[in-house]
């Protein structure tokens, strides 16, 4: 059976920038063929220039991507996307503004062949605290944030002076499990929104914090990201490594790895925010272990990642 298709859940209240992010990622897709699921096509779900044709509830998009509206039947839409030939490389699931993204993520376990990549929730810097105090939707909005692996703190350019510092602190309290990425115009690098690759083209030799990766799409974002790719010979105590990578102090946003575990068998590691999943890998026994991580420049120190790996190494 082929590998499960990764699904990134894009959540957040109305106006937070979900649609902008989806369109941005469709433009920055690289070689990926992305299937987008939206609640409804609405007036502005997908930028017109990306649409090649429409067939009922399926839009054919540039670069072999598709977009499907799910309305009130998410399961049927997921099933349909899963059965597409050829299968898409990635699914972006844009929730409705009142959906709880954690509940949507759990729906994925009902279908075989899909795997949760990340719960990415957007927050509108300009209105965040006001909305969080709203008598009707305040609790909903805070719950959406609490369920996030990653929070894209969007529209920072529109926020009040001082909020660039204050809002991340507010979020750290309101959504302690989530990692926060500041951005503007929902311009997140695909490596952060959709995940890192381990293929040859993606693997860099070690970089240091002093040489930030020029990530596509980061140009308008304001924030700079640092990535680090390590190759190593030794086996790894993966439980220990997972715990170290997920510790908030490390400042990692995402990491991906393929390595030998203590039993010598290959396993994969995937970290998004505080959630780290280690699973047996179907890959042939890797000759070399590989680990790639990405974090916010200034928060993430490459030396810490190296130290964490060293501390988890097994002779």
């Amino acid at each position: 059976m082929s590998a499960p298709i990764p699904v990134t859940i894009v959540g957040g209240y109305l106006g937070a920038g979900k649609t902008t992010l989806v369109n941005h990622l469709l433009r920055q897709r690289g070689e990926r063929r992305i299937a987008v699921l939206v609640n409804d096509f609405g007036e502005l779900a997908i930028d017109a220039d990306l649409i090649e044709s429409r067939d009922g509830t399926l839009l054919q998009l540039a670069g072999g991507c598709v977009c499907c509206s799910f309305g009130s039947d998410l399961m049927a839409a997921l099933q349909r996307i899963r059965e597409l030939q050829p299968a898409p490389d990635h699914i972006l699931l844009e929730c409705s503004g009142v959906a709880l993204p954690g509940a949507v993520a759990r729906t994925l376990t009902l279908l075989k062949g899909l795997a949760l990549d990340a719960v990415l929730v957007l927050a509108d810097s300009e209105t965040l605290r006001e909305r969080a105090a709203d008598r009707y939707v305040g609790e909903l909005l805070k719950q959406q944030l609490r369920e996030a692996d990653l929070i894209a703190l969007n529209k920072l350019d529109l926020a009040a002076p001082g909020d660039a510092q204050a809002l991340p602190r507010w979020l750290a309290e309101a959504a302690p499990r989530a990692r926060v990425l500041p951005c503007r115009h929902a311009q997140l690098p695909p490596a952060l929104a959709l995940g890192l690759g381990l293929g040859k083209t993606h693997v860099e030799r070690e970089r240091t914090a002093a040489t930030p990766l020029a990530l596509a799409g980061a140009g308008h974002g304001g924030a700079l990201f640092t990535s680090l790719s390590l190759e190593f010979e030794h086996a790894v105590d993966t439980a220990r490594l997972a715990a170290a990578l997920a510790a908030p102090g490390l400042g990692l946003l995402r990491a991906k790895g393929l390595m030998r575990g203590t039993d010598g068998l290959p396993c994969s590691l995937q970290l998004v925010g505080a959630r780290c999943v280690v699973a047996p890998s179907a890959h042939a026994r890797p000759r070399q272990g590989r680990l790639v991580g990405i974090g916010l420049q200034g928060c993430f120190d490459a030396a810490d990642l190296r130290a964490a790996l060293r501390a988890s190494s097994v002779a």
């Binding site: 109305l14 409804d40 609405g42 309305g71 039947d73 399961m75 709880l100 759990r106 376990t109 009902l110």
Partner: protein, 548 residues
């Protein structure tokens, strides 16, 4: 241009200028005149029809909140706790134990020749079995090989057997979903809650959404239930109304012997602007017996499912607050657009916080688009308090209250969901009346059985299944209750100029009764026999309906 004068023992007209009469003249499907025989002679030659000489006529009853799904469900095995009549008039006794439910499903499976065919039931409600949960092993007793399942009375849960779960690949570990409880073996117990969890199994059981939304067969079955209940106009609240469904609805309702006026509301699921424009386009396709172009929105979930949005202090048992099905600001946007385009919206609210959000949204929408006589309607609106009724009045809103709910779930509301005090104010018909809010009462069929006279009984007595009077001060009189199931419901649909009373110019829609609902003891309303209906001047006797 023939004229027929129907003679009756009594005609309850609901026209305050002439509340009672003995004769009604009908021409071209409309009421030509009402009064004594000698008052009607001036309309020229006529035929005197005396078949109702010992009957009582009322305006044809109007069900302001039902679903065509009631018709679709009767293709499956009835597993409910209470007695219920099917479209053929056969009374199905309630299944009083899980064993009885299993026996009924087993009988149905024994009658099937195709070994792979599923067995599906509906109307199951374990709250009457001390909440003993049904698990897949129970239904495996029906069949170990063919898919077996049943949908609950609420419509929000399905129980499935092992074969049904295996058929969709769910008899496995690794499922982690709040709607799919797992047993100690790590496998699903067979209870599937909510649309995501139910969808795939429903399809295997032949209960997928398209079927339940109402096809041609379901529409016909539904219309027979209407005749048996005295209903001449019924809503389908709501339907996705896919473009292929509209020609079918138009064709079937136009047939000579189709006995019901159907009012389907378009369910708003996506963009408010698109839905409003679709409704405008649908208005132009309306016919006498198919009234299109209204919208239904859903603000929150249900109180007994703990998914309704409640204000402080929330659920009596401490359950967390429910879910928004639409954002308050989106509802406001939809209401504003609809007011501007002359489209009517009915909004489902159950919890009082959902009601409050719609009241706020409506206030803002009316400021943006001032509209007299919009008759936007709150549907269910079960937990509204007196202040909210006063706001409804001030904003020109109507309300359609879920009177049947007390009987079926009132004891649960008292014990578990909202507690004794707030349970007494649920579906506050007397407060609606005192506040001057135009109101109707409804069944939400198939959630509870289609039967406005039963619904009227519920509003008059407010008795629960355990015989508790829940909210004695919210009881209303029989005359008010009868008005709610005729003119009251017609008013919420802006059809009160055409139906809901028997008077000159209106549709010749009558509910034909053997007994006088104003004269019998009010306890008898519940089981008042319905002879049939006259709809658009056409006579439909329940006993002579086609059966299948």
């Amino acid at each position: 241009m023939s004229t027929t004068i129907f003679q009756a023992r009594k005609i309850i007209t609901m026209n305050p200028s002439r509340p009672l009469a003995t004769h009604v003249a009908v021409r071209d499907g409309r009421v030509l005149g009402v009064g004594a025989l000698d008052e009607l002679g001036g309309w020229g030659p006529c035929t005197l029809d005396q078949r109702f000489a010992d009957k009582v006529l009322m305006p044809g009853l109007v069900e302001g909140h039902s679903h065509l799904m009631e018709g679709a469900f009767w293709r499956f095995v009835y597993c409910g706790f209470f007695d219920r009549s099917d479209p053929n008039g056969r009374l199905w006794p309630g299944a009083k134990s899980l064993d009885e439910v299993i026996r009924r499903l087993s009988d149905a499976q024994a009658a099937l020749s195709d070994p792979a065919a599923p067995v599906a039931g509906w109307g199951f409600d374990p709250i009457y079995f001390d909440n003993r949960r049904c698990v897949r092993e129970d239904l495996d007793r029906v069949s170990a090989t063919r898919p077996v399942g049943m949908i609950h009375a609420s419509g929000h849960i399905i129980n499935a057997n092992s074969a049904a779960l295996a058929a969709i690949g769910w008899l496995r570990s690794g499922i982690d979903h709040p709607g799919v409880p797992l047993g100690s073996d790590g496998l699903p117990t067979g209870e599937l809650k909510g649309p995501e969890a139910m969808g795939a199994v429903a399809k295997v059981l032949g209960m997928d959404r398209a079927v339940l939304a109402g096809d041609e067969g379901a529409l016909r079955l539904f219309s027979r239930l209407c005749v048996r209940a005295g209903v001449t106009t019924a809503t389908d609240l709501a339907s996705p109304l896919p473009s292929e469904a509209v020609p079918m609805l138009l064709a079937v309702t136009a047939q000579d012997r189709f006995p019901t006026r159907i009012v389907p509301l378009l369910r708003l699921t996506g963009s408010p602007a698109e839905a409003v424009e679709r409704a405008v386009a649908l208005q132009r396709q309306s016919t006498d017996r198919l009234r299109l172009g209204r919208i239904k929105m859903v603000a929150d979930g249900s109180i007994q499912g703990f998914s309704a949005r409640l204000r402080w202090p929330g659920y009596y048992n401490g359950a967390p607050n429910g879910l928004w099905y639409m954002a308050p600001e989106q509802m406001q946007q939809a209401m504003t657009l609809a007011l501007q385009r002359g489209v009517q919206i009915h909004t489902h609210t159950n919890g009082d916080e959902a009601t409050e959000a719609v009241l706020d949204g409506m206030e803002a929408a009316l400021r943006a688009a001032p509209t007299p006589d919009h008759r936007f309607t709150l549907q269910h609106c079960q937990l509204a308090d007196a202040a909210q009724f006063r706001r409804m009045k001030a904003l020109g809103l109507c309300v359609n209250l879920f009177a049947n709910h007390h009987f079926y779930w009132g004891d649960e509301h008292h014990r578990l969901t909202v507690g004794p005090e707030r349970a007494t104010r649920m579906n506050a018909c007397a407060t609606a009346l005192a506040s001057g809010v135009p109101f109707a009462i409804h069944s939400d069929a198939p959630i509870t059985p289609l039967g406005p006279l039963f619904t009227a009984w519920c509003a008059v007595h407010r008795l629960t299944a355990s015989n508790r009077v829940l909210g004695e001060h919210e009881r209303i009189g029989v005359a008010d209750a009868l008005r709610a199931i005729t003119l009251g419901a017609a008013y919420t649909l802006k059809l009160d100029g055409e139906i809901g009373s028997i008077e000159c110019g209106k549709r010749a829609d009558f509910c034909v009764l053997d007994e006088d609902p104003l004269a019998v003891p009010s306890m008898a309303l519940r089981d008042l026999p319905v002879w049939g209906v006259v709809q658009d001047g056409r006579v439909f006797a329940a006993a002579e309906l086609p059966t299948e």
